[in-house]
């Protein structure tokens, strides 16, 4: 009785092992079904999702104009203090004072890509960009100034 059980155990063990190895063997001979991405080598063909949250950017149009009014809604929405906006007052040709952003400081090293600033922005001035290769040698390089030098607010944005 014991011998019979022993032999059937060995038989079941070997068959279940072979069944598993048939599966792994199938993928060994069908390399096309493997989904591994050869990452640094396929940089040219790498396609990321459109909505991928990699970093916050401020889009500028061809006239070097953005739509940020400096309302600091994003600064208040951020849970980590990632965004700091320094505003200044421009004198318009009519002689009135107008609030405008001087510097839009973005601390990438503090950002968790939670998307709350983009949801808070009333004028769609900032958006998430699918850049993910952020490694640098110096931490200070991750503190970025988002508005380009010489840029100004687009006409008609309040």
């Amino acid at each position: 009785m014991f011998l019979k059980e022993y032999i059937s155990d060995v038989y079941n063990g070997i068959t279940s092992l072979l069944k598993g190895m048939r599966q792994t063997g199938y993928y060994f001979f069908h390399p096309k079904e493997i989904i591994t991405e050869q990452y640094p080598d396929n940089r040219a063909t790498l396609k990321l999702a459109d909505r991928f949250k990699g970093e916050v950017v401020m889009p500028h149009d061809e006239n070097n104009e953005h739509t940020c009014t400096g309302c600091t809604a994003c600064e208040l929405a951020c849970p980590n203090g990632t965004i700091k906006i320094i505003t200044r007052f421009d004198i318009t040709p009519e002689g009135k004072k107008k609030k405008a952003i001087d510097t839009f400081i973005y601390h990438l090293e503090l950002c968790t890509m939670c998307n709350l600033c983009i949801q808070a922005c009333p004028s769609d001035a900032i958006k998430m960009a699918p850049n993910f290769e952020h490694s640098v040698y110096d931490r200070s390089k991750l503190t970025k100034k988002l508005n380009l030098p010489g840029s100004k607010v687009k006409e008609g944005i309040e």
Binding site: L48, A49, P79
Partner: protein, 378 residues
């Protein structure tokens, strides 16, 4: 942590002769994350297990108290990172309960779909990691292949793969990606085709079955008295599915079965999770063609202020019952937040389950508890 010389000197640890105290973790390949178990052994038999916690304690509850009701939701993704969608959903539900916001029908269906996809992804990762604990390396790649498809779906719609921050108070943050339905249908057909592979690789393997059956037995009464929830309790025959008992977000409108096993051993817990994935697929199949049109987010005020009072909601994460308790003083930030996490209660039963068994069986028992350490420490 004890050094070897301390163990020899300290007679309180090494009480009688032949006892040995070993440390498993905090950095150990067999524990997931930084869990530290102080195990008292008699030969190879476990006499006592004492989990030491706090290595990844980030005081998330305290952090949440300094953030507004819109901001604190994203932090909870970092508790149980494998079911981050469901964590966020629990917090959003609690805030909605306080503000009495009615969530649009479309947002509810999206929440359920995302939650079930997260549950499958979490169980896939558990399946691979648990098989690797027991020495089977290959299943890890197979399960991660399926999980990768879910991650891509998440990436398309939410913009992130693990900590999405997609659930907001009042609905979801963004509308679904136009490609969402096609990709989910593709995933469902692929998943159904590939599940028999797991059976061949793991479930029907004799070595695996012998290591799982009768190991780490937890009776139904003990599961209740230790506060176990989720697949751990259901493996012992205790009905504990919050989706069935206290339906939220329209779970009462979809047909699915609560998976129950009565054996209470590691193999039963394994089967519960495996069959739960099929139930999740069933829910997804019902809803994927029936996503109602309309808004994905209810109109809310710019600054959320909960009325004075106490609010509690619970959801079923991949690991069990997650409870969110908010005490509000009427301001913009919560006065107190408490999370009842499933992992903490499930871990407390480990000593009871592993006592008297061999140390080799501990890995099978711990594997089927599906511990996520940031969820336990918070």
């Amino acid at each position: 942590m004890y050094t070897q010389t301390e163990i020899i000197k300290d007679t309180t640890i090494n009480g009688s002769e032949g006892e040995l105290v070993i440390n498993v973790g905090p950095q150990h390949p067999a524990t997931h994350g930084v869990l530290h178990l102080v195990i008292t052994l008699n030969g190879e038999t476990i006499k006592k297990i004492e989990p030491h916690l706090g290595y990844i304690h980030r005081s998330i509850e305290k952090m949440c108290e300094s953030l507004t009701y819109r901001q604190f939701i994203y932090v909870t993704s970092r508790m149980d990172y494998l079911s981050s969608h469901i964590n966020n959903e629990a917090c959003a539900l609690c805030v909605e309960k306080g503000l009495q916001i009615e969530v649009p029908a479309r947002a509810k269906v999206i929440r359920v779909l995302m939650g079930e996809l997260t549950r499958i992804a979490s169980h896939e990762l558990w399946l691979g990691a648990m098989a690797m604990d027991l020495g089977a390396f290959t299943p890890f790649f197979y399960t991660f292949r399926e999980r990768e498809m879910i991650n891509e779906i998440m990436e398309d719609t939410c913009g992130a793969r693990l900590t999405m921050n997609y659930m907001v108070a009042g609905g979801v943050a963004m509308d679904l990606h136009p490609d969402f339905q096609r990709k989910v249908k593709l995933f469902v057909t692929q998943f159904k085709k590939r599940v028999p592979e797991f059976d061949d690789l793991i479930t029907n393997n004799i070595i695996f079955q012998n290591r799982m059956k009768g190991v780490g037995v937890l009776s139904g009464e003990d599961a209740i008295s230790y506060g176990c929830t989720g697949p751990v309790a259901r493996g012992s025959g205790v009905s504990s599915d919050i989706r069935k008992l206290y339906p939220y977000d329209g779970y009462d409108a979809v047909a699915f079965d609560e998976v129950l096993e009565t054996a209470g051993d590691s193999y039963a817990r394994y089967l519960v999770r495996l069959r739960e994935m099929h139930q999740s697929i069933r829910i997804i199949e019902q809803l994927i063609d029936a996503i109602p049109e309309g808004d994905f987010q209810a109109k809310t005020k710019a600054v959320l202020k909960l009325p004075k009072g106490e609010f509690y909601t619970r959801v079923e994460t991949a690991r069990g019952e997650l409870g969110v308790y908010i005490v509000s003083e009427g301001g913009t930030t919560p006065y107190r937040i408490k999370f009842r996490s499933p992992g903490f209660s499930n871990l407390s039963a480990l000593h009871h389950m592993a006592k008297g068994s061999k140390i080799g069986d501990l890995m099978a028992t711990m594997g089927t508890l599906d511990l996520v350490i940031p969820d336990i420490d918070r």
